[in-house]
């Protein structure tokens, strides 16, 4: 049987959409994407300059006053991006990054999934419990590092209580080093899982849209 249908463009779209498995939805608004990539770039600069300041690589022979300036400037950038994301979350009343107890209840199951004891991850809100833990800890730890950085930037002119609480410059240095090690240990995990778990999520961080699987009837 051969039949012809006259299809107009809207209708065509409809058909396409219906026939796709799942649906395309906007998951990452513009500000979130700006924050993500801006923060990522800043963090790369901050950590690499920080490590360079920690233990200078000989062959680079960089100008160290400039390395320090880059470190500080990009820290301010990163804080700016963080402020964007924060404002955005306030405006949209977005609580997707705040871990809640019901999220964390899934954590053992998620770990079971990562250790191949389950075939599929447990249900989650926008982010699963592992992601929530990592992202939220990054947020806290980055603020802590920036705060300590600020304290050492002012050299005891302000924030004297921080110095007394922490116990000196060397301790500030040590805590910041440990924080950078934490970042260096968790960022690869983040990249690895985002590449292998859900590539459309990764795509959403660029285009803003991700594909949602069809709801099972």
């Amino acid at each position: 049987m051969k039949h012809s249908v006259k299809l107009r463009k809207p209708l065509l779209k409809q058909i396409k959409a219906d026939n796709l498995k799942g649906s395309i939805i906007q998951s990452q608004p513009l500000w979130v994407r700006i924050f993500h990539w801006g923060f990522a770039i800043s963090l790369v600069v901050i950590i690499s300059t920080g490590l360079q300041l920690h233990k200078p690589a000989h062959f680079l022979a960089l100008n160290f006053s400039k390395v320090l300036v880059a470190h500080i400037v990009f820290s301010w950038f990163a804080l700016g991006f963080l402020a964007l994301r924060f404002t955005d979350a306030l405006i949209r009343k977005d609580d997707s990054l705040i871990p809640k107890i019901r999220d964390l209840k899934h954590f053992p199951k998620l770990m079971a999934y990562y250790f191949y004891l389950r075939s599929s991850p447990p249900p989650a809100r926008k982010y699963n419990s592992g992601q929530l833990l990592i992202y939220f800890s990054w947020f806290l730890v980055f603020l802590l590092a920036s705060f300590l950085g600020l304290a050492s930037y002012w050299q005891g002119e302000h924030l004297i209580w921080v110095w007394r609480l922490v116990g000196g410059f060397q301790m500030i240095r040590w805590i910041k080093f440990m924080i950078s090690i934490y970042f260096l240990a968790t960022i690869p995990v983040h990249i690895y899982l985002s590449l292998t778990e859900d590539i459309s999520r990764l795509q959403a961080m660029v285009t803003g849209y991700e594909r949602r699987p069809p709801k099972k009837n």
């Binding site: 299809l7 007394r164 459309s200």
Partner: protein, 375 residues
């Protein structure tokens, strides 16, 4: 305390009278006896110390020590210097404590040894009983006009308080929490820092203190900021081992985190200082020295673990990173083996298996649905 004018008069007198042998001539003795000259009374208590700060103070080159003793300070009790011994020497301390309250300066040298209620350190003998260091410092300190802690041990615990701190040592501030202690840190403290602080107390009262209770005058800037090798650092030229002429940052110089004016003041007749000697600064003026600063040849400190082993921070960092990379590699391999990566990729990247195939028909916006098996 002498007023500033008194002091200036006194200085003039000192200058006129000249050196010490002339000063002990009758005019001075008379002046002292008549109470014309009021020098600032000083008592020095030594607790858990190596006496390096006394030795360092003896190394002062201007003013001379005879000038200090004659004109500036009434150096009453200091068991390294007192001529009398035993009970008589201790009597001077008691006399000062009883007759000059709120008038004398207490200098403390050495850490406050707290173990066994301080009985790991006895500093006096009174009424048939041994007096512990913390007891004496607390008693004398509460009635002193100023309390000055000199040296790393007295200020923040110092080498005596190094891990595992077998004597439970702390700085003076910890046993005199109710009053301000002026910290003149350093291992040993530079004679200028000690004498400068004392003179400031004698002339102008309490100096402006920085965040850890040290006079800003001497501890206001990091070693790094005024280091003569700073240009090497700024250009990224680093020494690879001690004994080289470049910036010693890579061999563990603690200059960037150490507040003191060593680079411009320098030591012992201002000819040399630790970095001038091609060795890294070991951060001896900072709280947390020496544990936070050692190994002295590495950037970040050793972390003690239960069981007595110590691991350097750098190795901990490398260990954590190594562990992560091993974990990720293992996960990649297992995922590939189990097919999880392939499955996830297919699930989340292929658009659709059943996209309706359309064929453009003649005419504007006309399509045919292609025949498929399903339809």
């Amino acid at each position: 305390m002498i007023s500033r004018r008194d002091f200036l008069k006194l200085v003039v007198k000192g200058a006129v009278l000249g050196n010490f042998s002339q000063l002990i001539t009758p005019p001075l003795a008379k002046a002292v006896a008549a109470g014309e000259i009021h020098k600032l009374p000083v008592v020095m208590i030594e607790t858990g110390t190596c006496t390096g700060d006394s030795i360092s103070l003896d190394n002062i080159w201007t003013p001379t020590f005879s000038d200090i003793l004659t004109n500036i300070l009434d150096w009453r009790y200091d068991w390294i210097m007192n001529q009398v011994q035993g009970q008589e020497a201790y009597g001077i301390l008691q006399e000062t404590y009883e007759k000059m309250p709120q008038e004398y300066i207490l200098i403390v040298q050495g850490s406050m040894i707290q173990r066994d209620n301080g009985h790991y350190n006895h500093v006096g003998y009174e009424n048939g009983k041994l007096i512990t260091g913390i007891e004496l410092v607390r008693r004398i300190g509460l009635k002193a006009k100023y309390v000055v802690a000199i040296g790393s041990c007295a200020t923040y615990g110092g080498p005596v308080a190094g891990y595992p701190n077998p004597t439970q040592s702390t700085g003076v501030q910890d046993i005199l929490p109710e009053r301000r202690v002026i910290n003149v840190s350093g291992c040993p403290a530079h004679p200028d820092w000690i004498m400068g602080t004392l003179l400031h107390l004698a002339l102008y009262g309490e100096p402006e203190l920085e965040k850890f209770g040290r006079p800003k005058l001497f501890y206001g800037e990091t070693v790094h900021n005024r280091c003569p090798r700073r240009s090497f650092y700024d250009q990224g030229i680093f020494a690879t081992a001690i004994g080289q002429k470049e910036c010693l940052f890579r061999v563990g110089c603690k200059g960037p985190v150490t507040y003191s004016d060593c680079p411009i003041r320098r030591w012992n007749d201002r000819f040399n200082w630790p970095i001038g000697c091609n060795t890294p600064c070991i951060g001896c003026t900072e709280p947390g020295y020496p544990d936070l600063m050692s190994p002295f040849t590495s950037h970040l400190p050793d972390i003690p673990f239960p069981g007595g082993t110590k691991v350097n921070t750098d190795s901990i960092g490398l260990g954590v990173l190594g562990l992560t990379s091993v974990a990720i590699t293992g996960h990649v391999v297992t995922s590939l083996y189990k097919g999880r990566i392939q499955k996830n990729l297919l699930k989340t990247s292929s658009k659709t298996n059943h996209r309706p195939a359309l064929k453009k028909a003649q005419g504007f916006h006309k399509y045919w649905l292609k025949k498929t098996n399903k339809v």
